[in-house]
């Protein structure tokens, strides 16, 4: 009975990244700065005041920067100054370096290429089929939902050769969510150590990247970067399943590292 029911609706799975998917561009990403004259004219004090998590900083030469790794997608800056700030769109939200999340770009393309080459040299063996192990280091529960959504028939990561595994001994990629609660520092470190080389660590969600609004707190370490060495940084509160897929594919090199924020906002309209 269930089989017939399942067959009736046809293919639900998205073809992304092979085929375009309009929902991939539909979900909001962290706030970004428009390349407009209003951005350059914005007074620094007002800009900083807009953000409850201090993600907006003023540039020395005038203009503003948004640290997407801290953005919790509250929307206040976009609502207050839509001429300066906008939501970023598109599924490619992750970077290989933490400074790479600051838009407009502060990092040079050479640095990015260097980091990419180092990562690829270390993880040459992981190309087609990798196993993922997820650890919750004090998240609010929504990132787990978005990661589990990868297993539903709409996203179906199995078609891309990505699988979830229970034992870190079998895992290649470590997905970490949560702001790095101190209670999970030792278990996270143990899980990381229990994984054999080569391994890649992906920090999923703004909490994991920068601590989110939960930081600073006596019980939280402001992101997981101080507990395990992170290779791929993915902001979002929570990041959409397409963004997570993009980050995973970037981690194994099937999406170029330059597809993420720093390159995509340098001198152009955000999509």
């Amino acid at each position: 009975m269930w089989v017939l029911r399942g067959l009736r609706n046809g293919v639900l799975t998205t073809g992304w990244p092979g085929r375009a998917d309009e929902y991939a561009s539909a979900t909001r990403g962290p706030a970004t700065v428009k390349a407009s004259p209003a951005a350059a004219a914005l007074p620094a004090a007002e800009a900083v005041r807009l953000c409850p998590v201090d993600a907006i900083s003023a540039d020395k030469e005038g203009g503003v920067r948004v640290d997407q790794g801290k953005c919790i997608l509250c929307g206040r800056c976009v609502a207050a100054r839509p001429d300066v700030f906008a939501w970023s769109a598109g599924p490619h939200r992750s970077t290989l370096t933490r400074p790479g999340l600051v838009v407009p770009a502060v990092e040079s393309p050479e640095t990015l290429r260097e980091v990419t080459d180092k990562l690829r040299a270390r993880t040459r063996a992981l190309r087609r089929s990798v196993h993922l192990r997820h650890v919750d280091a004090g998240s609010d529960g929504s990132e787990e939902w978005e990661i589990m959504a990868l297993l539903n028939p709409v996203y179906d990561i199995h078609r891309l050769g990505l699988f979830f595994t229970a034992s870190p001994r079998h895992a290649d990629i470590l997905l970490v969510t949560g702001a790095g609660s101190r209670g999970m520092a030792r278990p996270l470190r143990e899980t990381y150590d229990a994984m054999p080389d080569p391994k890649i660590v992906v920090a999923v969600g703004t909490d994991a990247v920068g601590g989110g609004i939960v930081s600073p707190s006596y019980a939280v370490r402001g992101g997981v970067g101080s507990i395990v060495p992170v290779d791929v940084w993915l902001p979002g509160s929570p990041p959409s399943p397409f963004a997570i897929l993009s980050a995973l594919l970037m981690a194994v090199g099937r999406i170029p590292a330059s597809a993420g924020p720093p390159m995509s906002v340098a001198g152009g309209d955000p999509r």
Binding site: M1, W2, V3, R5, G6, L12, Y23, T27, R28, P52, I72, L73, C74, G75, A79, W87, H134, D136, A137, G138, S139, D140, G141, S142, E143, W145, E146, I147, M148, A149, N152, P153, V154, Y155, F164, A166, S167, P168, A179, S181, R182, G183, M184, A185, R186, P187, L188, T191, D207, G212, I213, V214, P216, S217, Y218, A219, V220, S237, P238, S240
Partner: protein
């Protein structure tokens, strides 16, 4: 509903307990028990949910006193609350049956003390303070967690077993403690709602509603009708998503691959609808103190169409699921929660209602637009996993109905502002909402325009302790079903 009232002050802690016991005997239930640091010591507040309102009772424990008589021997639901107070403030309830660290096993004397102005920089949990849980003769302990198989939240279950049965279960929830209550201190109410949304990420809207209700009560605001309708719509979409998630986990545990896939698809569609409506798949950024942040991005007609589409697809699958005998067999008589025990504890949400004991806050203490829209609470008496599933399915139907009603009302509601102006006001009030897992309480105190104490009591913290009681004759393979049928977010329990 009722205006913010100052809590009744008792002369001493034993007098406070006396009042609490009397009110419980008169028909209330213990909704919350927490402490607030005070210059003169520690203020213990007990909140009781009675007919139509929440009453607060307080007493001061002077700073030279570290020990006080425990409430748990007289009022069993206070079990975890007193342990939490012990962890955060360092006071000792004498006569507490099992005083182990719950949310913060700390060996240092530097404790968080919510309500005190200062906050310690860092407190690392010390596993050495945890009891080693020696199993009895013939048993050994399986430590399950905090990093468990699958994509799950971090919690550790210590299963004491002779090999197959589960004679006893212990839980360690401190791994995910983030110090949320302390983080609230110093935030403005406008920023506080952002933190409230991220306390329990899967119930963002309900937490935001409860927080905003408390703030609005302090300021004496009336929220516009349209905003209330939008709040209801987002909250019911969230309820749909949570209940579908529970069904996905149950189907996955039973190995029904097609059912898991189909309900995963339905949940994805609900989340996409929520995203289309508000811009965020979890409904974040919608509820703000005073109203809502903006109109839904979908018009009422489109919303009605989308809801109808969802209903048309979900209902046949639910019927087929409830006709799959092998699935129902796994759930029947699994994880039974004794109705008497549920009533004594005051179990919240679907767990309580499945044991015939719970109330639905939308019905008993209506908030937002629920009073006028009308909610029928679903109820069962068996208390097993199947009953909990049936309650959730009833609530899915109820949520669809409420969404239709809200969309209709929105179409007729005309125009007007969506947000009342939040004037700076000091005071203290309690807000509540019925999250998909049960009632969530926020007790907010605002002084000088910033929050000085915000008590968060999600349903998960109240209900999770009942996991100890439901393993009657079940074996290890029933564990995922019981956990999924409870469906409580650990982020809410540990905060």
């Amino acid at each position: 509903m009722t205006a913010a009232t100052e809590p009744e002050l008792a002369a001493s802690v034993p007098a406070l307990w006396h009042l609490v016991v009397r009110q419980i005997a008169a028909g209330s239930r213990l909704a919350d028990l927490f402490g607030t640091a005070h210059p003169d010591g520690l203020v213990l507040t007990a909140q009781l949910a009675g007919r139509g309102t929440i009453t607060s009772l307080e007493a001061l424990l002077p700073s030279d006193q570290v020990r006080y008589p425990a409430l748990t021997p007289q009022v069993a639901p206070a079990f975890w609350y007193e342990r939490e107070i012990h962890d955060l403030f360092g006071v000792v309830p004498e006569g507490h049956p099992r005083l182990e660290p719950l949310v913060l096993p700390a060996s240092s004397t530097d404790l968080p003390m919510p309500g005190a102005g200062a906050a310690p920089v860092a407190i690392d949990p010390d596993p050495g303070v945890l009891p080693r849980h020696a199993a009895g003769p013939g048993l050994f302990t399986i430590p399950h967690g905090p990093v468990r198989s699958g994509v799950t939240e971090s919690i550790e279950y210590l299963v004491e077993t002779p090999g197959e049965d589960i004679p006893h279960l212990n839980m360690r929830i401190f791994y995910k403690h983030r110090g949320i209550e302390k983080r609230f201190e110093g935030l403005s109410p406008a920023d506080g709602v952002l933190l409230a949304e991220r306390t329990e990420g899967v119930a963002s809207v309900a937490n935001a509603i409860a927080f905003c209700e408390a703030v609005e009560r302090i300021a004496g605001l009336d929220v516009p009708w349209r905003a209330l309708l939008i709040r209801v719509a987002q909250a019911e979409l969230e309820r749909l998503a949570c209940h579908l998630d529970a069904i996905v986990r149950l189907a996955d545990g039973a190995g029904l691959a097609v059912a898991t896939a189909r309900f995963g698809w339905h949940k994805e569609r609900v989340l996409r609808l929520a995203g289309e409506l508000s811009g965020s798949r979890f409904g974040r950024g919608v509820v703000v103190p005073g109203g809502v942040s903006g109109l839904p991005l979908l018009g009422p007609a489109d919303l009605l169409g989308a809801i109808g589409d969802l209903d048309r697809r979900i209902t046949p699958d639910l019927d087929l699921l409830m006709g799959t005998a092998s699935f129902l067999d796994r759930l029947r008589r699994t994880g039974p929660l004794n109705p008497a025990r549920a009533a004594e504890h005051g179990a919240l949400g679907p767990i309580g209602r499945a044991s015939g004991a719970g109330e639905d806050t939308r019905q008993s203490r209506p908030y937002a637009a629920y009073g006028l829209l009308g909610v029928t609470a679903s109820s069962r008496t068996d208390g097993d996993a199947l009953a909990r599933l049936e309650v959730r399915i009833d609530e899915i139907g109820g949520a669809v109905h409420l969404l239709r009603q809200a969309a209709d009302e929105l179409a007729d509601a005309g125009s007007g502002q969506l947000r009342a102006e939040l004037s700076p006001a000091d005071g203290r009030a309690t807000g509540w909402a019925e999250a998909p897992h049960g009632e969530v309480l926020y007790d907010v105190r605002v002084e000088g325009g910033v929050i000085t104490r915000c008590r968060v009591r999600p349903a998960a913290f109240h209900n999770l302790v009942l996991m100890h009681e439901v393993f009657a004759g079940d074996i290890l393979t029933d564990f995922p079903f019981i956990e999924a049928s409870f469906g409580l977010p650990v982020a809410g329990a540990a905060r």
